[in-house]
Symmetry: C2
Subunit: 666 residues, 2 copies
């Protein structure tokens, strides 16, 4: 897609009329008096969380922002492979792939040894390691990511829209500590001031169960719970601009790290639509405690600095779509909720912070927006599970534990990266472009967002059986692979079975035996799951809900899809669902051998023994277990889930059996 040729226009580029490209409206009327979750901030973190919670019609969510409407331009633009995997779970990856710029290669430029005032290309690398993800690394305006989430919210069961022009003023929490016996009691009162002209200054009060601060580096929510960001003082200024320009620089449509001899460094990011480009440009070192905003830096300064770095190439800016200056500051909060470390055992969190509210970085590694959304994706299903009474509220402690550790790793990575790019801190001779390049390649997995690995906890198992599936590393995201769906022979990505619907997935990789055989281990597992009183499927699925509504079981076979008879498969893999008891035919897959390697080979699965891979609602591998480790499977879920009512369950199981009997496959 090509757009922005005649100037930057915000919103959906497929709409011809610029005035019709975006919907400026928020939710009308006053804030509700009581909600389950109040989300403060409509950035990527806030909207990811809102989109996740909006999937559940039984959760009442409110999302507010100080701004008077949606973001239209600027801010972040890097979208890591891992993030598109998440977007796929929310159902809009194809829109990002269609509209965004694909980062296929990155080029490196350095001073020309012969003429050090000129730059020359020093290297060129593939941006993303082969096979790291089924999705590419993409660049797209943050505003469009917002639009896609707003669209998910609008279409969702909750039909959620943001309330704009509200500023949080304070949070009051009950003095009574929350407890496991009454986890959802309303314990927080939020006061917000209206900023819209017709209601300016009016105060609204909302009683909420959980508050999530997605309100950026100057977070009010963070201040309300007495937390702060710690880390480097920001003393290096950078400028950033999105421009339409004419240049003879040959790599203008490739991501580039460009280091000049004496004029500093720029990072060049081609943008969506074929014409726009983003440039990060190094500015002056700041004095201690100085703010860059005091320097009176103008857009012309950024352009001039860019032109100096790019010599001998011309760079004529025709339009500036957006620009900003900022200080680099790697800062981190020590905990991401309102429970003090010494109260972990006796208090439950009610207030959370995500994204820039708890960690800030240099934008040039393209991490900020991505990590912020992953924060919310981590928190969203946990809040929903607790609010829907499916999981014990102690689950909520895992949010800060998991994400603070990840943020710390990120800050460390980011600091190293930012220092490497601050060429002016070193002389040109000291700076080693091949070192930068090597570092870039080595850190590819980090940048792609696939390096995240959660430590063992109540929702992340120990690695006793990791050998059964070496490519599905416990604690990392479930790495998708191509498979063939048995019932309709469709080539699909196995990981795309994971939707942002709050469900757990159990991928059962069968051993070599015929799965139709009476003694097959996969049949044994299915019978355990569908029938045994200790089965987590039986125990945790509420009456009246589909059998896959809490734990969604999928099976993957080693045989070709033409070798297997679907009618002989275990009942659990052809479940009858919904008001009509229609069969779901999308639970079984076979290896895709068209490229010579199937999922078993690609992910190092033990073909002799098979295995179970348990996947969290946020796509992370929670556990790898032997295919017959029923007790260990049950114990794992027992660690954090709440059993549905027994009597109801027995009823449900009876109904399921009757249904299966009524339409039994001969």
């Amino acid at each position: 897609m090509q757009f922005h040729l005649n100037g930057y226009e915000p919103g959906d580029p497929e709409v011809s009329d610029p005035a019709a490209r975006y919907d400026p409206s928020g939710a009308p009327g006053n804030l509700p008096e009581e909600v389950d979750v109040l989300i403060v901030g409509c950035g990527p973190a806030g909207l990811t969380l809102a989109a996740q919670l909006a999937a559940f019609s039984d959760i009442k969510t409110c999302i507010v922002d100080q701004k008077s409407g949606p973001l239209l331009r600027g801010q972040a633009d890097g979208i890591a492979c891992r993030t598109i995997e998440m977007f796929h779970a929310f159902g809009f990856s194809e829109r990002v792939l269609k509209e965004g710029y694909w980062v296929n290669e990155t080029t490196f430029w350095k001073p020309d040894d012969k003429q050090p005032e000129n730059i020359i290309r020093s290297g060129r690398v593939q941006d993303v390691e082969e096979g790291l993800s089924e999705f590419p690394h993409v660049i797209l305006n943050q505003a469009r990511v917002h639009d896609f989430f707003l669209d998910v919210m609008r279409k969702s069961p909750a039909r959620l829209k943001p309330h704009y022009a509200r500023r949080l003023t304070d949070l009051q929490t009950d003095s009574t500590p929350s407890s496991a016996s009454d986890p959802c009691s309303k314990q927080v009162t939020a006061r917000l001031k209206r900023l819209d002209s017709s209601h300016g200054g009016e105060i609204e009060t909302v009683k909420v169960r959980y508050v999530v601060g997605c309100d950026g580096a100057r977070s009010t929510v963070r201040n309300c719970i007495g937390r702060a960001l710690y880390g480097d003082s920001a003393n290096h200024a950078w400028g950033v601009m999105d421009v339409l320009a004419v240049t003879d620089f040959p790599d203008i449509r490739l991501k580039g790290l460009i280091q000049s001899a004496n004029q500093g460094t720029i990072v060049l990011i081609p943008r969506e639509g074929g014409y726009l480009v983003r440039i990060y440009v190094e500015l002056d070192k700041l004095d201690q405690n100085e703010r860059v905003s005091n320097r009176n830096i103008s857009a012309d300064d950024l352009i001039a600095a860019t032109q100096r770095v790019l010599k001998p190439y011309a760079f004529e800016v025709k339009e500036i779509a957006w620009w900003s200056v900022y200080e680099i500051g790697q800062r981190l909060c020590d905990k991401f909720d309102d429970v003090l470390a010494r109260h972990l055992a006796d208090q439950l969190p009610r207030v959370f912070i995500t994204g820039d509210a708890c960690h800030t970085h240099s934008p040039k590694a393209g991490q900020g927006m991505n990590v912020s959304m992953q924060d919310s994706f981590n928190l969203g299903w946990k809040l929903a599970s607790v609010l829907r009474n499916r999981c014990a509220p102690r689950l909520l402690h895992t949010y800060s534990a998991e994400r603070q550790a990840i943020a710390k790793e990120l800050i460390d990575f980011d600091r190293e990266w930012a220092e490497m790019l601050s060429a002016s801190a070193k002389s040109a001779t000291e700076l080693n472009p091949s070192e930068v390049q090597a570092y870039f390649v080595r850190q590819g997995r980090y940048t792609a967002g696939t390096a995240t690995c959660y430590r063992p906890s109540i929702i992340t198992g120990e690695s006793a059986y990791q050998d059964l599936a070496r490519g599905f590393v416990i604690g990392t995201r479930f790495h998708s692979a191509p498979v063939i769906r048995l019932a309709d022979a469709k080539p699909v990505q196995l990981g795309h079975a994971v939707k942002a619907d709050g469900r757990w997935r159990l991928f059962a990789f069968a051993d070599r035996d015929d799965p139709a055989g009476a003694a097959s281990r996969i049949r044994g597992l299915c019978e355990f799951l569908a029938e045994a009183s200790g089965s987590p499927v039986m125990k945790y699925t509420p009456v009246g809900e589909d059998i896959d509504s809490v734990i969604d079981v999928r099976a993957i076979f080693q045989q070709s899809h033409r070798e297997l008879a679907i009618e002989k498969m275990p009942e659990l893999l052809l479940p009858q669902k919904g008001r009509y008891g229609l069969r779901d035919y999308e639970k079984m897959f076979c290896g895709d051998l068209s490229d010579g390697k199937d999922v078993f080979s690609m992910r190092g699965i033990d073909r002799q023994r098979g295995c179970m891979v348990v996947v969290r609602p946020d796509q992370y591998v929670a556990h790898v277990l032997p295919i017959d480790a029923y007790a260990e499977l049950a114990t794992f879920f027992d660690g954090f889930m709440i059993a549905a009512d027994r009597r109801q369950n027995d009823d449900r199981r009876g109904v399921a059996r009757a249904q299966i009997a009524a339409t039994a496959v001969s």
Copy 2:
């Protein structure tokens, strides 16, 4: 995507609230008094044409339908590979791929030799030949195809919406024959009756330049121009139904042709969403002149007939989303416009008919909707080119000439196919399932829509140089292949450069020489196109428009994208466009060698000599020429195009040169 589990709901399945899934509104108010094109009928043919014309803000189009709102269910559902290629040009292929059922394999069932009252599987084939198209064969409700076109129209420069509840009553044409000197004079007056309750019976009168009847088998437009459908009387009845059912038939999620011994034949088509299925079921033979509507056939009859064919399998219908009965009738109109054959030389067409208005078929080959849309895609750019004064009005004669021949081929194919499926016409022993299966495989290209080949005409060249590109057969659709875009190293499909924007494309496949060389033949071609007075680019591009606005030149090189220096390429391939003179970096491609075969190998292009492939606005190959056949290229375009004003052109060329000089690549 899975949906329709709890019942069929029309509209966008991504919207949770069924009431918000579709937009029932049409254009408000009265019909305009004068338009350039009046389209009668909002089926696939009408909407394809409307979407095409809506791309041009300078064309005034009106589309009407008798119905009171958009289609919500039923009718056609097969979408051929070729059709998705066209959808891609309109910008919504990814939505069809996401939502539709993919036909990966087709199964064949026949009477069991041992127990002829039961069916058994007799075969299973890949549905679409490997490499036939970059897109699959897909099944999706016709109503959704309408929705996507309505969406294109809504977002288009013309912001077009249908006027519903209008029935065409008559067309009055001026007695003066239209002439080449005044092709756009308003010569047709259409009268339409309003059917909406608040305006029921009111007559509206519209003066139009061109009328297109997309109004189905009982077309009023066809009747107005005194044409009729000729062919078989319909004497074989079939039923069709979209159902949600529970069955133990194992191939319920695979397309199937199922022939019973004595109970007739069904065609089973799995549908979008994972649960819905369409079944075509053979009913009784009709008496001469009998209409199936007189048989009082009910949905229960269709279900009972299906159950009889499917024995020994159970088939329990839970909900019928839509059903219908119809007669097979292969019928064809001898000409698709209002010019009598004897007046071809002295009259120009003003009224056209497309789709079912000029050809009807059995639906089971999945051709009707696809061919109808291709009719309109063929006509749309021609009408637009003539209305915009870019092409001579005699171009309009090619519509009937090209599409009538294709329709005739289709009718012949369809008759053969329908006869083969009418098992009751033969005894079970006579019917040879392997013959059916072999025929199905052989006709795969036909069914995929890729067999269409237009004969030589003013817009389709002779095959003198076909050997230069054996895989781009003149007259057939441009068969896309993977390439790497030079400027940003992105893997793309070359054919996706062709958008439904009315432009011609010239794909210049370079020879082996370095394209940056001063003597390179591709540079020679670019210089001719950009500078020579005989260049069709110079001659036909209006002043003030981008240099690629009429003929869009793309180059494909044999070298790897890392071997070529973009800054040394011919200026025409880095054109400066728009109000700012921004460079377009998407004109150059290199072979994608990741699979070992690049586009030159895949499409049989002469590596020693290279070639030009001229592609029409509707994606068909118009010509293959040597890369230095400047005169023949010019002669080809001179055959149907109208030169832009010379003086203006000279100005434009001057401007282009000045722009290029101003930012010349060093």
